[in-house]
């Protein structure tokens, strides 16, 4: 390995020089240069898991649109860097996209934290940017003019789980989740929503990012003896929490994990225990939204896997961007901004619509349930694929 790593290092140095040389000679081949759209994606670091689906959404749309002849008669190119889940890196890379790569348009990165940091780049350069991966509304409350939310608000993620609890007469709810920006923004919305629905919160405590263990939380929940457990968790802690609850033999009637189980992988990693788990998505293949059927089929064909709501939201962001460009027949930033701020656009996610702060009001959340190894929409009733199966089965199924 040592010799190879020496060689690799040499190769890298050579590669860098070659890259610099090559970069200068590339432009000007076609009479119509492509429209370049810039973004960063967390291919490494703590956001890497979900960010992958987000990138695929962008890639699919660019592919499809190019097959149809691009935009304004020009091909489209997606230029993206790995921000390593680090906001400062993302800021530098967005600056690079704008200043060095001279991209025509920007779209948002993955995660609220990184969007919060790069929003400033879009603002300063007066470039409109739909950010499909920011569900917290906090970044928009400081007066952003050029950035728009392309994801359903986080407060809507729990509406279904609460409604299901209410319908089934489950009174006592335990809330837990990861103490980071996005889960916390959801968790904070629960007490008010629960009160409205006449439910009682019997336990409410968040665990830290990178928690080493969930046993203590599971025991506490067991002692609180809730009817429903709401875990506002990402993928790894959903698995960790699920196992801890099983091992502590906590037996709620309703088990809801906000976003972790939405990922297709959840069934593989959790095995049979996945059955009965509720989760949230902001998109489903059977939504009757614009081009939704085509989107799902094309996605499966291109990536040999099913899209999740990240893919859909990122795809939708580009749908809105395309609508803005086609309407104005130009890449003029002010016109595109104006369009994004004021126009309702049908997308795969639903109807894109933002309020005066740029906060998304058009998209909604759906509640899913794992049943027999697959996920189905169980709420709201209008999109229901299967009826929710409750109560949550005993662990010794």
């Amino acid at each position: 390995m040592n010799v190879t790593s020496r060689l690799t290092a040499l190769a890298v140095c050579g590669g860098l020089l070659a890259g610099v040389a090559a970069g200068s000679g590339r432009a000007g081949a076609a009479d119509q240069p492509p429209i370049v759209i810039g973004t960063t994606i967390s291919q490494t670091g703590s956001y890497a898991e979900d960010a992958k689906y987000a990138l695929q959404g962008y890639q699919l749309w660019v592919n499809q649109q190019n097959a149809k002849g691009g935009l304004l008669g020009r091909k489209i190119e997606l230029k993206y860097y790995d921000d390593a889940s680090d906001p400062a890196t993302a800021v530098t890379q967005y600056q690079k996209l704008v200043q060095q790569d001279k991209v025509a348009l920007l779209v948002g990165p993955y995660s609220s934290a990184i969007t919060a940091a790069v929003a400033n780049v879009a603002e300063q350069n007066k470039m409109p940017m739909i950010s499909p991966e920011v569900s917290s509304v906090a970044p928009f409350k400081r007066g952003l003019k050029w950035v728009f939310q392309g994801q359903a608000q986080s407060t809507r993620y729990v509406a279904g789980a609460i409604d299901i609890a209410k319908q089934n007469g489950y009174k006592k709810i335990a809330v837990t989740g990861e103490d980071t920006a996005f889960p916390r923004s959801i968790a904070q919305a629960i007490p008010d929503l629960a009160k409205e629905a006449g439910l009682e919160i019997v336990f409410n405590e968040l665990y830290p990012h990178n928690a080493s263990d969930y046993t203590a939380i599971a025991q506490k929940i067991k002692q609180a003896n809730p009817d429903a457990v709401f875990g506002i968790s990402y993928f790894p802690d959903s698995i960790g929490l699920l196992r801890a609850l099983k091992q502590a033999n906590v037996t709620p009637k309703e088990l809801f994990f906000a976003v972790g189980p939405t990922e297709p992988n959840f069934g593989k990693e959790a095995g049979k225990d996945a059955d009965g788990v509720l989760s949230t998505t902001n998109w489903s293949a059977n939504l009757k939204t614009a081009d939704n059927g085509d989107f799902t089929k094309a996605f499966q064909a291109m990536f040999k896997s099913n899209p999740d709501y990240h893919s859909a939201a990122n795809y939708a962001a580009l749908q809105v961007l395309a609508a803005a460009i086609n309407k104005n027949k130009s890449l003029d930033a002010d016109k595109i901004r104006e369009f994004m701020a004021t126009t309702k656009v049908p997308t795969v996610m639903g109807t894109y619509e933002v309020d005066s702060s740029g906060i998304q009001v058009g998209y909604n959340s759906l509640t899913l349930q794992w049943q027999g190894g697959s996920q189905y929409v169980v709420w709201p009733a209008s999109y229901q694929q299967k009826k929710p199966q409750l109560p949550f089965p005993a662990w010794t199924r």
Binding site: A48, E205, P208, T215, Q223, F235, I239, Q247, A248, A270
Partner: protein, 291 residues
């Protein structure tokens, strides 16, 4: 406070301690002999856990069936790290400690990158032995119990190996007094490589078993390194009974503080205990004082 709750928390804490011990025993072997803090230790744990997850999902091989293969693989990796990388370190006394720490830091980066290239950033785990045995009001996690038992078996086997075999005595000599051991004809080079192989094999065993308890991705490695080092510092260098005791204390601290206080404070315990122990009993609970 109900007695069965205290008992349950104690069981949880001890089983969690077993998990910590698994991560720590291998590090103890390496640190004991080489005085190198192997920052790549946790990455070996994670690399194996990810492999175990793939083996289970693709081929239905359970981590327990795969344990011997994992350990051989881990041993190989450890030997490679020592022979190809750490061995190259010039014996430059004032900076050797720093440089070796930094080298393992580079190796750790490399292994994260390698794992990402092989396994992507996905979190993986093995859905096997996920339930628990219910004994009256108490529940005992199956996979945790297994990890706990294996940790004790490994610690016991290490004890026997170190006390009753020729190689073991040489290893112990090397860990206690390098110059003395060299004078007695023990090949320090060989002992170093052996300790890396052995320690990494144990790390691999830990990874295979932990895959049934946690979902991990390539970035999870540093957590295991830090926890392992806390345990080693707490229990005392080179003391295997100390490592078990240290992990039990840490496990109990996380379990009880997490329950009666706050889970975030519970998660802080490994770091806090680590610093406090080093300040007030620098040689660890069962360690011999280091001059």
């Amino acid at each position: 406070m109900r007695p069965e709750l205290v008992l349950q928390l104690t069981i949880d804490g001890l089983l969690l301690g077993g998990v910590f011990a698994l991560a720590a025993l291998g590090l103890n072997v390496i640190f004991g002999v080489t005085r190198i803090v192997n920052l790549a230790h946790g990455n070996i744990v994670v690399l194996t856990a990810l492999s175990a997850a793939i083996a289970f999902q693709r081929f239905g091989i359970t981590p327990i069936e795969g344990l011997p293969v994992a350990m051989v693989g881990g041993a190989l990796l450890g030997v490679i790290i020592d022979r190809l990388i750490l061995r190259r370190l010039p014996e430059d006394a004032p900076t050797a400690e720093t440089t070796s720490l930094l080298l393992t830091f580079g190796v750790s980066y490399f292994l994260v990158g390698l794992s990402l290239a092989i396994f992507t950033g996905d979190f993986r785990s093995v859905a096997y032995l996920t339930g628990s045995w219910l004994v009256g009001p108490l529940s005992i996690g199956k996979s945790r119990f297994l990890a706990f038992a294996v940790a004790i078996v490994i610690a016991a086997m290490l004890g026997v190996l170190l006390r009753s075999t020729k190689i073991g005595r040489a290893l112990r000599a090397a860990s206690q007094n390098l110059d003395g051991a060299r004078a007695c004809g023990v090949s320090i080079d060989r002992m170093r490589t052996l300790s890396f192989g052995l320690g990494s094999a144990i790390a691999a065993a830990a990874g295979a078993l932990l895959s049934m308890i946690y979902a991990v991705n390539p970035d999870s490695g540093s957590q295991f390194t830090l926890i392992a080092f806390s345990v080693v510092a707490l229990g005392g260098l080179g003391s295997y009974a100390g490592a078990l005791l240290g992990s039990a204390i840490l496990g109990l601290a996380v379990s009880f503080v997490g329950f009666f206080g706050n889970t975030q404070l519970g998660a802080m315990m490994p770091y806090v205990v680590f610093i406090l122990v080093l300040l007030f009993r620098p040689s660890g609970l069962l360690g011999k004082s280091v001059a």
